[in-house]
């Protein structure tokens, strides 16, 4: 898969993204120095325990965090342009056209009092000069593409007339209708039945293949990552702790946290599994240790782990936030 286009730069490069929320006590830092890239057409999985900052990172990419409280620092380069320094108007033009987002809750993500036809066409018409007729035709085509039966009949239906899985299909149709370069999918199947989950995942992978859209796939399901993505980002306590090709990380993870996740995995063929649990608890935001954030739970902790851990480069493009990453031989899910 092509990671870079002819300009040589990745589609998305996030550099040292720090997200904090202002509150009465000042600011609570949620993510620290999150950096990663997504190549053109690449599918990158993001995993990590609940609360580690996956959703806020995804929202920050689109500038969707609450303006009044969110403090976002760093750099988000999309096609070379920094989204954090972009005028609101221009960023708006990018949203839904070049970068789309699919949310976790299909039941509440669509406006209940407008028909889905209206919601699809308004997305199109916000970004492209198309007439009503053409917009409707393209909406029908978009619904057809995501596998909604007799789409021209469903265009004037309201969201409540669709099942959860069908609504998520509508969300996907809406996210893809302008043919974006990047789709951020934030646990798009967590709220759905297990059988429907598989269909939606397959659909997303297929559409990403046929349209060449890159996918940032936030999920709890490592099995899905194994089947869908080429690279895996592991996040822990607001930091990226490992970034590696999926096949490498499954065999030989370089960070003890990734290893812990993978090892307790029931089996990659099973879908719909939650992230397996690792003994101990994540430090609360605002109470992070100075050194390695995983130290309290790490079976490989040693002298030196109390030092701050930068993301280190290992062999063949792997990055790990652990100074012992190269020396340890950690078990993965596949042996």
């Amino acid at each position: 898969m092509a990671h870079d286009d002819h300009t040589g730069q990745p589609l998305l490069a996030v550099n040292n993204l720090n997200i904090a929320f202002a509150n009465d006590a000042g600011e609570t830092a949620i993510t620290r120095d999150v950096s990663f890239t997504v190549g053109h057409g690449e599918r990158v999985g993001v995993v990590g325990e609940s609360g580690c900052g996956k959703t806020v990172t995804g929202l920050a990419l689109l500038g969707l965090l609450p303006e009044r409280t969110a403090r976002v620092r760093g750099e988000i380069l999309f096609q070379g342009r920094d989204l954090l320094n972009m005028p609101a108007r221009e960023l708006r033009r990018l949203r839904g056209r070049d970068i789309s987002m699919i949310f976790q809750e299909p039941m509440s993500a669509l406006d209940p009092v407008f028909t889905i036809g209206e919601q699809l066409t308004e997305t199109l018409r916000a970004h492209e000069k198309v007439g009503r007729r053409e917009a409707r035709e393209r909406a029908v085509a978009a619904l057809e593409e995501v596998g909604i039966p007799s789409p021209h009949l469903r265009l004037d239906d309201y969201p409540y007339q669709f099942s959860g899985g069908m609504r998520q299909r509508v969300m996907i149709a809406m996210a893809l209708i302008c043919r974006p370069r990047l789709v951020i999918a934030d646990e798009p199947t967590t709220a759905l039945d297990v059988t429907v989950q598989a269909q939606i995942i397959d659909l997303l992978r297929e559409l990403s293949d046929t349209t060449g859209t890159a996918l940032l796939f936030i999920t709890h399901d490592l099995g899905v990552v194994a089947e869908t993505c080429s690279r895996l980002l592991t996040m822990y306590a607001g930091e990226v702790v490992e970034s590696a090709p999926v096949d490498t990380v499954l065999r030989r993870p370089a960070h003890p946290y990734s290893s812990g996740l993978l090892r307790s995995l029931p089996g990659l063929s099973e879908r719909g599994g939650r992230l397996p649990s690792i003994p101990g608890r994540v430090p609360a935001p605002g109470q992070m240790p100075a050194g390695c954030r995983f130290q309290a739970r790490c079976p490989h902790s040693a002298d030196g782990c109390e030092q701050g851990q930068p993301l280190r480069e290992l062999d063949n493009g792997r990055l790990a936030r652990c100074w012992r990453g190269a020396e340890l031989t950690l078990p993965g899910a596949v042996t």
């Binding site: 689109l62 969707l64 009044r68 708006r92 033009r93 990018l94 949203r95 839904g96 056209r97 789309s100 987002m101 949310f103 809750e105 509440s108 993500a109 669509l110 406006d111 209940p112 009092v113 407008f114 308004e122 997305t123 916000a126 970004h127 309201y158 409540y160 969300m171 809406m174």
Partner: protein, 318 residues
């Protein structure tokens, strides 16, 4: 199919309204019995003999048991016969036709002003939630909800009528004869009635708009690249419209009830003052007829708001 459902809903609601009408008029009839004074004595004039009073009682059926009296009134009313005033002899239907338009004009006027002022204020506060402007508007609204209508009415009369002489302090002309003149007379009473309304509309609208703006589907709209203005005016307002409509419907009922006081303050020949006078004099056909007209109006307004809600929100079914 949707139309059939709606027709059935209207029919069902109208049927449900019948017992409400009977109950409301019955309660009013009972209350009338508790009021001291005897209309027959009033009718007989000064120094009338007991015999004369008794004759009058019989002539008007006032000597009959109370339930029989109510039953007779109900039987007539069911045929559209509301009877005549015991005192003036004017048919009650005429009294209603003469006074109700005045009251309705004031009430509708007050509701319109409440909406026309309250909606922009609510939107302004919601779009600047947390700002000093928001706090000011909401502070004023809390005050507006707390202030009694007639108190504000008195202040208005003092300033705009007696002081500046912009508007007449008392009196009325029928909107059926001279509409612009009636508007002129209705302005002060309507302003007096709308303080609570403006405050109520602004507060409720702000509340539901702020809630909608932090909802997940509005986040989707931002993610799609729609402009904040479009999100507010198209999606925000349609989402809160059911709420707003319900508030306005309730407001109309409240304002209609409050016209009774305001008509007294401004000496307006409305249905409220007719009821007050008739109650004081024991003129029960007028009281019954006027109350019936009020209750029917309230029921119809509620039905209309409910119907409009089903149009605005596809999830609501009859």
């Amino acid at each position: 199919m949707a139309n059939r459902v709606k027709q059935r809903m209207v029919a069902a609601r109208l049927l449900q309204a019948l017992p409400i009408l009977v109950l409301a008029t019955f309660i009013v009839f009972c209350l009338m019995q508790l009021i001291p004074g005897d209309v027959a004595v009033t009718l007989a004039g000064e120094n009338a003999s007991m015999e004369r009073i008794q004759q009058i009682r019989e002539a008007y059926g006032l000597n009959q048991p109370f339930l029989v009296q109510y039953g007779q009134w109900l039987a007539h009313a069911a045929q559209g016969e509301l009877g005549t005033s015991l005192l003036s002899g004017e048919p009650v239907a005429h009294t209603i036709a003469r006074t109700f338009p005045n009251t309705l004009l004031i009430a509708v006027y007050a509701v319109l002003v409440s909406v026309l002022v309250g909606v922009p204020l609510g939107i302004l506060a919601a779009t600047r939630a947390g700002s000093p402007l928001d706090s000011t508007i909401m502070g004023a609204a809390s005050l507006g909800v707390a202030v009694p209508n007639f108190w504000f009415g008195m202040i208005l009369v003092l300033f705009l009528a007696l002081g500046l002489q912009w508007f007449p302090a008392t009196g009325f002309v029928s909107p059926l004869e001279d509409f612009s003149g009636a508007l002129w007379y209705a302005t002060l009473p309507a302003l007096a009635l709308c303080t609570n309304g403006i405050a109520e509309v602004a507060r409720q609208l702000r509340g539901s708009l702020v809630e909608i703006q932090s909802s997940q589907h509005v986040r989707t709209l931002h993610a799609k690249g729609l402009s904040p203005a479009r999100i507010l005016w198209k999606h925000g307002l349609k989402n809160v419209s059911v709420n707003l409509l319900t508030v306005v419907g309730l407001l109309f009922n409240k304002i209609l009830a409050a016209t009774v006081v305001v008509e007294a303050v401004f000496a307006i020949p409305g249905i409220g003052s007719s009821i007050v006078n008739a109650v004081l004099q024991g003129d029960f056909p007028v009281v019954q007829g006027a109350v019936l007209a009020m209750v029917v109006t309230v029921i119809l307004v509620n039905l209309c708001t409910d119907l409009a809600c089903t149009v605005l929100d596809p999830r609501i079914h009859a």
